[in-house]
């Protein structure tokens, strides 16, 4: 018992304090473990985290204006945008110097298209001016103010200069404002005109439709998973193939098949007309709208719901149900009070999978969604490959990412992520 009064550190056999010796041994183990997962870590970092970070960064990055027009940006610092007057000769001279360099490197059109997002028409101003400025002699040909205005009188418009000034910082919230249907006006952020608002509607629609798809997957998938889990394994395996077979078929093939089924001259309408349930001139419109998107996506995402449910249900011991019944429970009570709560982790896992997949889908909605059934991802794809407004696409993508994370957080609070089981 005298040991307990000993105040010095406990020593290991070699005389070093036990704590340090233990820490060293643990560190060695940690490093070894880290080395083992290093390739994976590196892979995830390089192919997943970095591109996402880069994408997020693009949504606020705005170096192009200050990089391409450095002198103009400095000269414009003291100009008062609300004065309603065209800038003076010094600023035009700075612009001429900047544009000459930019036109040689062909970056002036990029600045033009960047500013064109905010103020349509600027793109052509820069393009026209670039062509002329290339040939000017900066030392001799001044003053430049009149010459710019001669190229295009819009150079005299203070609004153009206000746009350049507003977007001269290295970072901007302009893309995010745009993604939320706002724009930068003379007095800070303002709502876009009503006929240009689109993203709020699209985000809301994406969420609601993804939710509808998740719910219909639960409703359709639950009985199937239950049957799969409770049949003898030979029959269950056969049924499982029926679930997996469409899953292995190309996404495009399945989507096109729905087009053939659902269109007005399609299989379902033809059958309904033949049965006399629907008049020939009043065929149902089931595609190129929200209904078509929900049906096709439910079909495509259904296996992602069934598989986790099935693997959870398989682990539920059937004797619990028998016990409940032997204690006098009806079939429904036994199911609802004993079986269902145990299958909730499967529903949770399936729902998260389906919902998150659905929220980012764009091929199927593009093909069968018409105008009312497209998702926000369709706009992101459009801005990446068609309009080339990558900043806006990045902002939309970032918002989508935040929404998904927020929903995940809410789900964790309400249901608890520990309740999610994939098997």
């Amino acid at each position: 018992m005298s040991d307990t009064t000993h105040t010095g550190p406990v020593l290991a056999a070699d005389g070093t304090p036990l704590k340090r010796s233990l820490a060293r041994a643990l560190r060695m183990q940690k490093i070894r473990a880290l080395m083992l997962i290093a390739p994976l870590l590196l892979f995830v970092l390089l192919t997943f985290i970095l591109p996402i970070a880069d994408m997020l960064f693009r949504s606020v990055e705005n170096k192009i204006v200050s990089d391409t027009l450095p002198k103009t940006v400095v000269a414009l610092k003291d100009w008062d945008a609300n004065s309603g007057e065209t800038p003076d000769e010094a600023i035009f001279a700075a612009l001429a110097a900047d544009l000459q360099v930019a036109a040689q490197e062909k970056t002036h059109t990029r600045v033009g298209s960047r500013l064109n997002y905010e103020n349509p028409g600027i793109s052509s101003l820069f393009r026209k001016a670039g062509r002329k400025v290339k040939r000017w002699d900066l030392a001799e040909d001044g003053p430049f103010r009149e010459q710019f205005i001669k190229i295009d009188e819009d150079w005299a418009d203070p609004e153009v200069w206000r746009t350049i000034q507003t977007y001269s910082g290295a970072y901007t919230n302009g893309y995010f404002l745009n993604a939320a249907d706002f724009q930068k006006g003379a007095e800070g952020a303002e709502l876009r005109p009503e006929n240009e608002r689109i993203y709020g509607t699209l985000f809301l629609r994406t969420l609601i439709m993804s939710l509808a798809i998740t719910v219909s997957c639960i409703v359709l998938g639950y009985p199937v998973a239950w049957i799969l889990a409770n049949l003898p394994s030979r029959t269950a395996n056969l049924l499982m193939i029926l679930v997996l077979l469409p899953f292995w078929t190309s996404l495009l093939v399945r989507t096109s098949a729905w087009k053939v089924m659902l269109q007005q001259q399609g299989v379902i309408n033809d059958t309904l007309v033949w049965l006399g349930l629907v008049a020939d001139d009043a065929r149902l419109v089931m595609i190129n709208n929200q209904f078509g998107t929900i049906v096709a996506m439910t079909h495509i995402l259904l296996p992602f719901m069934i598989l986790p449910m099935y693997s959870v249900m398989q682990t539920i011991n059937p004797s619990y149900l028998r016990a409940a019944k032997s204690l006098g429970a009806t079939n429904w009570t036994a199911f609802w009070r004993v079986y269902f709560p145990q299958s909730v982790p499967g529903i949770g896992a399936g729902s998260i999978l389906v919902f998150i997949l659905a929220i980012g889908y764009y091929i199927t909605p593009e093909l069968v969604g018409g105008t009312k059934g497209v998702f926000i991802s369709n706009r992101i794809a459009f801005h990446i490959s068609q309009s080339l407004n990558w900043g806006l696409a990045a902002a939309l993508g970032s918002i989508l990412l935040v929404v998904v994370l927020a929903l995940y957080w809410a789900y964790d609070k309400i249901v608890g992520i520990d309740n999610v089981k994939l098997g």
Partner: protein
């Protein structure tokens, strides 16, 4: 015996290859195109004959022309352009040229002259819309309609599209403002040469959208050119816009009950650009191929496989019969005088400036 012959052949080829190849030409070339029947026509008209002359050349196809500008931008930013020759529409070529993604060319120097000696720049004429662009074909966006669903008087004017009383049923239109707003204003009584002036005002845009509103619930919006022929064949729509070559293939090759409405067909150009800053050996190969592929005979040959008009004036008289069907191709060309009575040429400059703005309005209108 056979084996030794093969080995001998392989050895000879291997030995001769470096000699056959002009000292500084790459032996591999990536061509970017649109896939489908169009790419097939390029393969048959240019690439196969060229490869017969240069058997060592390996050609890789990439079917990314629809996203060419975006991909070129990404590749240039990453500093690794893997494409050698890119087939794009004129407006994309102009964008890439302005941004320095495509190489500027001296058309008379790099392209073959016409057989009678006319320099290339004159032979292509106004179709050289950008210093980087080598025009190849003239195509158009126009309408097809179901012959069996339009009664005894088939549509003859573009404005019949907006007449749902006379021609009930759905229409297919491309899901973008370009062409649609011009047609709408034209049918709302705006003179052809004033369309862009009217569109430049907010009221003009409202007016165009209001006209489109009158048929909005009857429209199926397409994004891929193949959709309209399919929708017409299925009987899903009565009439629809698409590229004239797609309609030709539905009518002539698949014998669908479809006919063309050429009124106010919207002319557009398609052609080649060469990425800027290619390494010397690759550039030498591309330029050699480009000179061959855009000469008078080759452009006329392409028209044997697809109903797009050759961009060279000197090729037009050489346009012959379809390579397989044996039908005369000239009447199916958008440039044929019988078809080109009333054409719409869209204003590239105007669209370059107003695309983002108009698109925002159009998409918001669609979503409503």
């Amino acid at each position: 015996m056979k084996l030794t012959k093969l080995t001998a052949l392989a050895a000879t080829t291997a030995l001769c290859a470096p000699m056959a190849m002009a000292a500084d030409m790459a032996n591999e070339m990536t061509i970017v195109s649109w896939g489908g029947a169009y790419q097939e026509s390029q393969l048959k008209a240019y690439v196969v004959p060229y490869q017969e002359m240069h058997p060592d050349l390996k050609v890789i196809w990439d079917e990314s022309s629809a996203e060419a500008t975006a991909k070129m931008r990404a590749m240039t930013e990453a500093g690794n352009v893997t494409w050698d020759l890119v087939d794009v529409v004129a407006s994309d070529a102009m964008r890439m040229c302005d941004e320095g993604l495509a190489a500027e060319l001296d058309h008379d120097e790099v392209l073959a002259a016409a057989p009678d000696g006319t320099p290339a720049s004159e032979d292509f004429g106004e179709l050289i819309v950008s210093d980087c662009f080598v025009p190849q074909i003239v195509y158009s966006t126009t309408f097809g309609y179901r012959m069996d669903k339009v009664g005894d008087t088939p549509p003859s004017s573009i404005c019949d599209i907006f007449d749902t009383a006379k021609y009930p049923g759905k229409r297919a239109l491309q899901k973008r403002p370009i062409d649609n707003v011009e047609w709408a204003l034209y049918c709302d009584g705006v003179a052809k040469d004033e369309i862009y002036d009217v569109l430049s005002t907010d009221e003009g845009v409202e007016r165009a959208l209001a006209k489109l509103d009158s048929i909005k619930d009857q429209v199926v919006w397409w994004t891929a050119g193949a959709e309209t022929p399919q929708l017409l064949a299925d009987g899903e729509v009565v009439m629809g816009s698409t590229f004239n070559g797609r309609l030709f293939s539905a009518i002539a090759e698949q014998n669908q009950p479809i006919d063309m409405l050429w009124d106010m067909q919207s002319f557009d150009l398609d052609g080649w650009i060469v990425p800027a800053d290619l390494p010397e050996d690759r550039k030498a190969r591309v330029m050699d191929f480009l000179k061959f592929a855009t000469d008078t005979q080759r452009l006329a040959d392409q028209a044997k496989f697809i109903s797009y008009g050759p961009a060279r004036a000197s090729s037009a008289p050489l346009v012959g019969k379809h390579a397989i069907l044996g039908i005369d191709m000239a009447p199916h060309m958008p440039t044929d005088p019988a078809n080109a009575g009333n054409v719409h040429v869209y204003d590239y400059e105007w669209w370059a400036d107003n695309r983002d703005d108009l698109d925002a309005k159009f998409q918001a209108w669609l979503a409503k």
